[in-house]
């Protein structure tokens, strides 16, 4: 089983290397290499999943480095501290393996159709598949890692792939600006991650999950020593880790990069910025949950950030006209849900939602990609009436939207319900209210987008038509899990998902009928409102009137609460202020000193220049003047000594 795990990890890496070094020139071959490797990985991941479900566990690690304290050496017989890299398989990992490989595989197949425009393959076709392979490798490394160091390395590689893929069309300024923004914003979180890592290494003495969890379970020891602000060391370490998760998962206040990341190709948005990478933050918290569990204060932080992000992102999604951005806000909002669930202490709910979300959000994105491919625009105002022209896409999009909106019996319904129940039990009542309100918002903006796209008459200038089978088949294949995968965690199947994930610790969740009914009602109300405003031929409620009557709220939402502007303003002030100080220092002090020196020598030079008359007799004069001076000096010295 260990070899199997390494193979899962190695296949995409191999595909990346092969494409980069050998098959780059052949676009078809490159894509087949990538898809083939992905397919192999996927099958092995399923096999692993089945084995793990059967109770198998595996760990495979090797020693990477041995660190010695300063002055010590191996020869002196010191053992030092080993840095070990390794992979493991447990239910959490197996679950993520399935999600990542499945979505990855389908997205890669889909990309073969999407990355073709008017019959021409994109010039970077091979590069695209190489990046996708690199991403999948990194993501698999992230979920397979059995220690924080390997996880962090993969984490950074994932960030790199994300950067490369967002800026894939680097000819477009928006693309590379967005790539830069994504990279730098997540980097802020990653610094927190790194700090957390260093704290754990320094205080806990290890980065292996098992070692750390053992220490955390003791509820005492070095990790629980009081430190800054009287909080235990572990609290700050967890906060650091969570900062990384906030950056990666686009949580407030580092959410600003995710909507802009939609400049990348849509399959990338589906794979990285909806299903897998952005979920890595949730995965990280879930993976290190024993640490968070040991410091409840950290969990409250997680819950608060998550709950706030959920509603905050939801409001921004209400008014946006860019199809992909609406979904990006939706992603941020749903990730907020997952964080809220984690903060409420339920890994199972969070991972369940992550699991279902990965499928239905990938489906939504791929369907959106299909629409965008057909209409050649992201703007929902230039769509409309596509129901008849793109029936398959319409159907898959409907399934995805209903699932996202929490329509009963679809995947999203089960997982969202689980989160709401967890929040109602363990979270602050305000956060629970946020979560409930977000249900309504989610349903509304999802169907606003849906109706704008598919209902009414076509408002664009192209001739949209259904996408080719290479795109629609993955859509159909994804639609099945997007609709049905939630059943696995439903009471009807005995909470199979939770049982699988939690193993011995499984306790049957207590359902709450009021919560469920409220959320269903709210969701249906959202859908109904969207229909009333955008779905009907003669809107019962005119969106413009609503916008006009909302006061400044509409503008505020349209400009995303001005958070980007605020950041840019702060950065500008900071950068320009610092820059001005440094520039002044450079000009006045550094340049001044150098110029003064230069001026000194120049003055000396121009003064002494007169001495170099070019006339040999002048030189002779200086020479003998010097001789006379030296002679007198010697005489004086001699006289002085004689006396």
């Amino acid at each position: 089983m260990q070899a199997q795990l390494w193979t899962i990890l190695g296949l995409p890496l191999m595909a990346f290397v092969v494409i980069v070094f050998f098959t780059r020139r052949s676009k078809d071959l490159s894509s087949f290499v990538a898809i083939g490797a992905m397919f192999g990985s996927m099958l092995l991941a399923y096999a692993t999943f089945i084995q793990v479900a059967g109770g198998a566990r595996a760990v495979s690690e090797f020693e990477w480095l041995r660190l010695f304290p300063a002055g010590a050496s191996e020869a002196a017989g010191e053992s030092g501290t080993a840095l070990r890299l390794g992979i493991q398989a447990d239910p959490l990992t197996a679950l993520m393996l399935v999600v990542v490989t499945t979505v990855s595989f389908l997205v890669q197949v889909y990309s073969r159709g999407y990355m073709v425009e008017h019959g021409h393959k994109d010039p970077g076709f091979s590069r695209f598949f190489a990046y996708l392979s690199l991403f999948t490798f990194s993501m698999l490394g992230l979920v397979l890692a059995n220690n924080l160091l390997f996880l962090f390395i993969s984490w950074e590689l994932v960030g790199l792939s994300s950067y490369l893929l967002i800026g894939f069309w680097y000819q477009k300024p928006e693309a590379w600006i967005a790539a830069k923004k994504a990279f730098i914003t997540t980097r802020i979180g990653d610094i927190g991650f790194l700090i957390g890592l260093l704290i754990l290494w320094n205080v806990g003495g290890s980065l292996q999950f098992t070692d750390l969890f053992e220490q955390a379970d003791l509820r005492s020891g070095a990790l629980f020593n009081a430190s800054l602000l009287g909080q235990p060391v572990l609290f700050w370490a967890c906060l650091g880790l969570f900062a990384g998760a906030v950056g990666k998962s686009g949580q407030f206040p580092l959410h600003v990069w995710l909507p802009d990341a939609m400049e990348g190709p849509t399959p990338v948005s589906a794979l990285i910025h909806a299903a897998t990478m952005v979920a890595a933050g949730v995965y990280l918290v879930a993976r290190t949950f024993p640490l968070f569990e040991a410091v409840p204060q950290a969990l409250s932080v997680v819950a608060f950030i998550g709950g706030f992000t959920a509603i905050f992102a939801g409001t921004m999604g209400l008014v946006n006209n860019d199809m992909k951005r609406v979904m990006a806000f939706s992603t941020v909002s749903q990730l907020g849900y997952m964080m809220l669930a984690l903060g409420a202490g339920s890994i199972a709910a969070a991972m369940f939602h992550l699991f279902t979300h990965a499928f239905f959000k990938a489906l939504l994105f791929l369907s959106a990609g299909s629409v965008i491919h057909a209409t050649e625009t992201n703007d929902v105002r230039e769509m409309g009436g596509l129901r008849r022209k793109m029936p398959i896409t319409f159907a898959t999009m409907l399934i995805g939207s209903l699932s996202l909106a929490g329509f009963p019996l679809l995947s999203g319904f089960w997982s969202k319900d689980e989160i709401l129940v967890a929040a109602s039990e363990n979270a602050n009542v305000v956060l629970f209210a946020f979560a409930m309100l977000t249900v309504f918002l989610t349903a509304f903006y999802t169907f606003r987008m849906f109706f704008l796209t598919f209902a009414g008459a076509y408002r664009g200038h192209h001739h949209p038509h259904e996408s080719p089978p290479v795109m629609t088949v993955p859509l159909i294949l994804l639609a099945i899990p997007a609709a049905a995968v939630g059943l696995w965690g439903s009471p009807w199947m005995g909470f199979g998902f939770q049982r699988f994930l939690e193993g011995d610790r499984f306790r049957e969740p207590v359902g709450s009928t009021p919560v469920m009914l409220t959320s269903v009602v709210l969701g249906l109300a959202g859908i109904g409102l969207a229909y009333a405003m955008y779905g009907m031929r003669q809107p019962a409620i005119n969106p413009r009137t609503v916008g006009a009557r909302s006061g400044g709220l509409y503008t505020l939402l349209l400009n995303r609460w001005y958070v980007d502007e605020l950041y840019m303003w702060i950065l500008d002030k900071l950068a320009i202020g610092t820059g001005a100080v440094l520039a002044a220092f450079d000009r006045q002090v550094l340049d001044g000193a150098i110029n003064a020196l230069a001026e000194l020598w120049r003055g000396l030079g121009s003064g002494l220049r007169g001495l170099q008359s070019g006339r040999v007799q002048n030189y002779g004069l200086y020479l003998f003047g010097g001789v006379a001076a030296i002679a007198f000096a010697l005489l004086v010295a001699q006289g002085g000594m004689a006396r």
């Binding site: 170099q612 070019g614 040999v616 004069l621």
Partner: protein, 110 residues
């Protein structure tokens, strides 16, 4: 020092004579414009030094050594070489510039 002592030349007479020649040579070398005149003045300086050499050899050294005279020999040899090369340069310069006025030869002015 009375008159008869002054009239009989001793070491200091030679030294003063040599120094005087040397100083006159300096003045000549620094004030004349003609390159050959400068060379002549330099010869004057060299001879002033030579007088000193020989005088010290005569009056100061206690042994049979004639180091001062040997040095004077060397100086004469170097003077000969200097005169040869110097005059060659003078003639070459004259061919080029049709002048020997050293204050017109200031191409190396800074």
């Amino acid at each position: 020092m009375n008159a008869s002592q002054f009239l009989v030349p001793g070491l200091q007479h030679f030294l003063v004579f040599g120094s005087l020649l040397f100083s006159l040579g300096i003045y000549g070398a620094l004030s004349r414009r003609n390159a050959i005149a400068i060379l002549l003045s330099i010869e004057l300086m060299l001879n002033g030094v030579n007088i000193l050499m020989v005088a010290f050899s005569r009056y100061i050294t206690t042994t049979q050594e004639l180091a001062g005279q040997v040095f004077a020999m060397f100086i004469i040899s170097v003077a000969a070489a200097e005169a040869a090369v110097g005059l060659a340069i003078v003639i070459a310069v004259y061919r080029q510039r049709r002048t020997l006025q050293v204050d017109q030869l200031d191409l190396l002015k800074g």
